[in-house]
Amino acid sequence: MADDFFVKAHRNLSLTGEGNIQSLFANRAGAVVQVNLIDQLIAAGYGYHVTIGALTTPIQGGGAGTILDTLQPEFSLAVPSGSAIYLIRGSVQAELPADQDGDVQEILFAADRLAASNASSATGTVEVAFNMRTDNPRSSLCTVVSANTVNITAPTHGLEIARKQEVTNIVTSGITQGVLELLYEPLSPLLLVGPASFYALWGGTQAMSAFGQFQWVEMPEALNALWGGS
């Protein structure tokens, strides 16, 4: 027994009311038009964006920018118990200072699978996460803190997600030029279930400051069926 898979062919959009039943949308050759689940969750108000640093002013976290200090991350995103996130885009742009032979500069994205970060206004700058559908009133349940310069509870980086690494090799100091940046925009993003945390760290032999932009889709308890259970 078989069901024929018919679709409604049209080039122009045909909209119906919320909750109404309608035919599948295809183009006039029968190619089905599909919307990605993450894009639809953004349209429904579950996408968030946070900006670190602003205009021409980058930020530095712990260790005065000279080391990656897991206790004083440049960026922390704490996912509370009951929520889960897809990290869909993380981007960092550093002001590359390395100009000595042997300088190593690094940017690292990592996740703690088991604990929500306790970073707060007592450890750094609490950031506002804006909804990616800019008029949507929904707000994030995650806690976002940048430029931590007071120790947070030690995280466990079970997952290192992405990294950029640069080594300077020169004979005469002071003559480097370049870009040090990291873009993580995965085709299949990690599903980070709270309690958990995402961290971004940057630094190196030469003190380094940077900007960052981070986006995630957040599924609160009400959407648990998308990710909960075994």
Binding site: D3, A9, N36, M132, Q177
Partner: protein, 229 residues
């Protein structure tokens, strides 16, 4: 239990607008699909704007030496009732940095709550439909090379993307390189009017550049795609 049957074809077969037909699959039964954003472009809701032309780049406010929020190199004002998804913004600058500690920057940012009432002193740009024969026109106002402030001054709640370059050298005048930024997100935000999107570039040494920007625009008639809670 029922199989889902599709029409297996290597070559496309067309039907009329609003006609009913089998879903298209290849001869192996793999469903042929297209993205919703591509379908929106085919329906005439995609727009493209070019800033700078051929070999002539532009400079916005601050004579190219600073990022000035009120005099951006490009600004797309989204009116109330309309929403846009930026799908591709490419900036290519003519990198001038050749002095120690020169910093050059490109920033794409969003004001979530205000549309422009004035484009200041600037070049009004034409947004062309990405389906090049489609008569649908953009409801957005687009200005480039702003040299006298737009109104109101944008408030950048969101910085979408950025490029940053730092020069370290002992002898001035010996750098060479690229300074460009490609923002082509897998999952774009939905910027709901009143709002605006700015592109700014500049640095210690005056920098000029070119911009290509593309977005999918959803006017009031498509409000159910993005409106409401």
């Amino acid at each position: 239990m029922a199989d889902m049957q599709v029409a297996s074809r290597r070559n496309p077969t067309m039907t009329r607008e609003n006609g009913s037909l089998y879903a298209w699959a290849n001869p192996a039964g793999a469903l042929v699909a297209m993205s919703f954003k591509d379908a929106m472009v085919a329906a005439g809701y995609g727009f493209h704007v070019t800033v700078g032309a051929l070999t002539t780049p532009i400079v916005g406010g601050g004579a190219g030496t600073v990022l000035v929020i009120a005099t951006p190199e490009l600004i797309i004002s989204v009116p109330s009732g309309t929403a846009i998804m930026p799908i591709r913004i490419k900036v290519d600058c003519e990198l001038p940095a050749d002095l120690d500690n020169d910093i050059e920057e490109i920033v794409i940012a969003v004001d979530r709550t205000q549309a422009l009432t004035s484009g200041g002193t600037s070049t009004t740009e034409v947004a062309f439909n990405m389906r090049s024969d489609n008569p649908t026109t953009s409801l957005c106002s687009v200005y480039s090379a702003v040299t006298v402030t737009v109104a109101p001054t944008p408030v950048h709640g969101i910085e979408l993307a950025r490029k940053q370059e730092h020069t370290n050298l002992l002898t001035a005048g010996i750098t060479q390189g690229f300074m460009d930024l490609l923002y082509e997100p897998l999952h774009p935000p939905i910027i709901v009017g009143p709002a605006n999107v700015s592109v700014m570039f500049g640095g210690v040494t005056a920098m000029s550049g070119f911009i290509n920007a593309q977005w999918v625009e959803m006017p009031e008639a498509l409000n159910s795609l993005w409106g409401g809670s």
